[in-house]
Amino acid sequence: MHSILKASAAALALGAIAVPATAEDLSGTLRIISDMSNPAPRAVMEGLAAEFDALHPDLSVELEIVDREAWKTQIRNALSANPPDVVNWYAANRMLPYVNANLFMDVSDLWAEPEFEALASTKGAMTINDAQWGVPYTYYQWGVYYRADIYEELGLEEPATWDEEIANCQAILDSGRKCYTIGSKFLWTAGGWFDYINSRTNGYDFHMALARGEIEWTDERVRQTFANWRQLIDMGAFIDDHQTYSWQEALPFILEGEAAAYLMGNFAVAAMRDGGLTDDQLDFYQFPVINPDVDFAEDAPTDTFHIASGAQNVEAAKEFLRFVTSADVQSRINGGDALGQLPVNANASVSDDKFIQQGFDMLSNNAGGGVMQFFDRDFPAEMASVGMEGLQEFMVFPDNLEDILLRLEDARQRIY
């Protein structure tokens, strides 16, 4: 009812102004459902919609913002009944169910345009069955955020290799602290650790082959990953009882200096600054080398826009996708005062925030292995949920590894 009213109000307004519409000009209504519900992203999204609306006088933009967590289950209904034109979602395998069900529109024609060459770095993550199904608008790096003041107090340097990492950790443990905080109640945080240790041990290609179900979970190389991980677990590197905490509930440990570092996405920086850490106390380093024969692969999850295949206003939707991927818009929405993340467009300017700069440098110059989307986006949904549960169990009871691997292998054979 709401949308009908709004549309007719817009039609009335258009009739009153009676601007002669040119052939290229977009008209009608563009309906967007967005999951950018946190305060800063919400302001960005509302700004985008208003700006696009102002750019096209004959077009009225209707924006509906849905809670980010709720959207993960609501998107199914939203896309299948009375679909909007544009929706938010995530790259890589998270798109697969909707691509398979023909709910996302193939936007390969957009990607064929010359402007889209600036987005080449994420083209792979947007591709399924040799076609592209959406466009990225932001991404962010993962890495180790650590307490520089604690490192300084103990005379430690940012580790570059696994041995240095272990040595650092031992020194931190000896000082009565924990090396890492983590809250694994909602499982995905353990996925980050697996992504990094596995890709550093066996390389990006192996990791992605595992994600595609081409490698057995009982493979010797997978076991090596868990053996490396276990070194840290056996040292007591992680905080106790992490299975009870969410990632936010694990923050006080680093804020109060009970743990020295946090393997996280860049979104955690805002929370840590809010918690009272200054930029002098907080710093960032790239996850260290484990196997010198493999190149760095980095987790850098990409958030995206898609056109629903049932879209009513396809022209306007495509224009909106061109709009959000343009260098100018990408620079602005990813700025330190907006999303505070990395622009995907190579011609966009990067915020001068310390962490965004470090992340940008790392991903541009030091991620030769490849860019991972994150455990729950690279692995198919079912494998991700079974997998992350196993990873959490491993972190609490590493002795159960054999049983966990058999279970995951069983799931792999059923799912793929």
């Binding site: 993960k72 289950t73 199914r76 896309l79 299948s80 169910p97 909707y98 398979n100 069900a101 023909n102 709910l103 109640k185 909602f186 499982l187 106790d240 009882d241 299975q243 009870t244 729950d376 949904a381 079912e382 991700a384 949920s385 549960e389 196993g390 959490q392 169990e393 609490v396 279970r407």
Partner: protein, 361 residues
């Protein structure tokens, strides 16, 4: 008799129309109609739909694929045939692009028997789905331990069934947890159980025990959640027993006292038999409450650690409706199993009510 004998009145009665003549028998049905309609649309029909979906493989988005009892065989670990994706079939062409629309049907897995040279259907060995097994036994734990709310509620009711100043206030305070939302109860208890800051570990520390991370320990977590659930459920049972105690016949108590009954014997032989209706209702609501134990689990542990606190309803939600759940058919099969467990209890409840009514007549 006079009416029947009067031809004029009989004629008017006939002319009054079909509805007027059947008013007495029809009106109740008219009043029931909206209820029946909604009950059918929201309860009865979905039951059959769930059963129907449970015979398919379906991600909730695309086409349903018939897989027979495959979902149940996987769930319960029955050896049997396996459905796999078969050869793609062209079902039509897209009128706009002219591209072929292809569907991949599910077919029974076959393999070539080297002896006979014929394709034979493969029989696979299965074990019971471990998540299902854990969920089922957790449901059993809930059913048994949740019943503790009845004696606890009775105890508090007996304790509060006295006349002292301010008894109404005490009664309301004891009833209070039942008014709280289950989500709030879950949150409060998860803070109570927190491994470091929690009140529980503070208390244990006083006695030199602990620390204990109840919700983080797969062997204890379910019991921790049940304990949280018992808090409001005890209050509910208490209220039921308090009203029941009001109806206890003082003359019978007096007579029993004259006969020298007191204490346990008084309770067991005189009071409890008179509380039978209250006990029955308390039993029904407690069993139903135990089977509906979804929100507490979702709030307190989200099914974890490593799935050790799942119950059937939560597992069903996870498989079919949650963030990573795309197995509508499998979820529906779990729901059907849960439905039959509930049906067992419902049949028992209906039977005992019917028996009581018959006895009263």
């Amino acid at each position: 008799m006079a009416i029947a004998a009067d031809p004029v009145r009989a004629e008017t009665a006939r002319r009054r129309g079909w509805y007027k003549r059947n008013e007495i028998s029809l009106t109740p049905w008219l009043f029931l109609l909206p209820g029946i309609l909604f009950f059918a649309v929201y309860v009865i029909i979905p039951i059959f739909q769930s059963v129907w979906i449970s015979f398919h493989e379906w991600d909730g988005l695309g086409e349903k694929q018939w897989v027979g009892t495959d979902n149940y065989e996987r769930l319960l670990g029955i050896d049997g045939t396996r459905w796999v994706e078969g050869e793609p079939v062209v079902v039509g062409t897209n009128p706009e692009t002219g591209a072929e629309i292809v569907q991949i049907p599910m077919v029974l897995e076959t393999e070539l028997n080297p002896e006979t040279g014929e394709e034979e259907v493969v029989i696979v060995e299965r074990n019971m789905d471990r998540k299902f097994e854990i969920s089922f036994w957790n449901n059993v734990k809930w059913l048994i331990l949740y019943l503790l709310a009845m004696p606890a509620g009775l105890f508090i009711a007996l304790f509060l069934n006295q006349t002292v100043a301010g008894i109404r206030l005490y009664k309301s305070l004891f009833f209070f947890p039942f008014v709280l939302s289950q989500v709030v109860v879950g949150l409060v208890f998860s803070w109570f159980y927190l491994p470091r800051e929690g009140l529980l570990n503070g208390l244990l520390g006083v006695f030199g025990l602990g620390p204990l991370n109840i919700l983080g320990d797969p062997t204890l977590a379910t019991y921790g959640i049940i304990a949280a659930g018992l808090w409001p459920q005890t209050a509910y049972c208490m209220i039921l027993y308090l009203t029941g105690l009001n109806a206890v016949d003082p003359e019978q108590v007096e007579a029993a006292r004259l006969d020298g009954a007191k204490g346990w014997r008084m309770l067991w032989y005189v009071i409890l038999p008179q509380l039978r209706p209250a006990t029955f209702i308390a039993f029904v609501v407690t069993i139903i409450g135990a089977l509906r134990s979804f929100d507490l689990i979702s709030v307190m542990t989200n099914g974890g650690p490593f799935g050790s606190t799942r119950v059937l309803s939560f597992y069903m939600f996870e498989e079919s409706l949650s963030e990573f759940g795309f197995r509508m058919g499998y979820g529906a099969a779990i729901a059907v199993v849960l439905f039959f467990i509930m049906l067992g209890f419902i049949c028992y409840f209906l039977y005992s009510m019917w028996r009581d009514e018959k006895g009263a007549r």
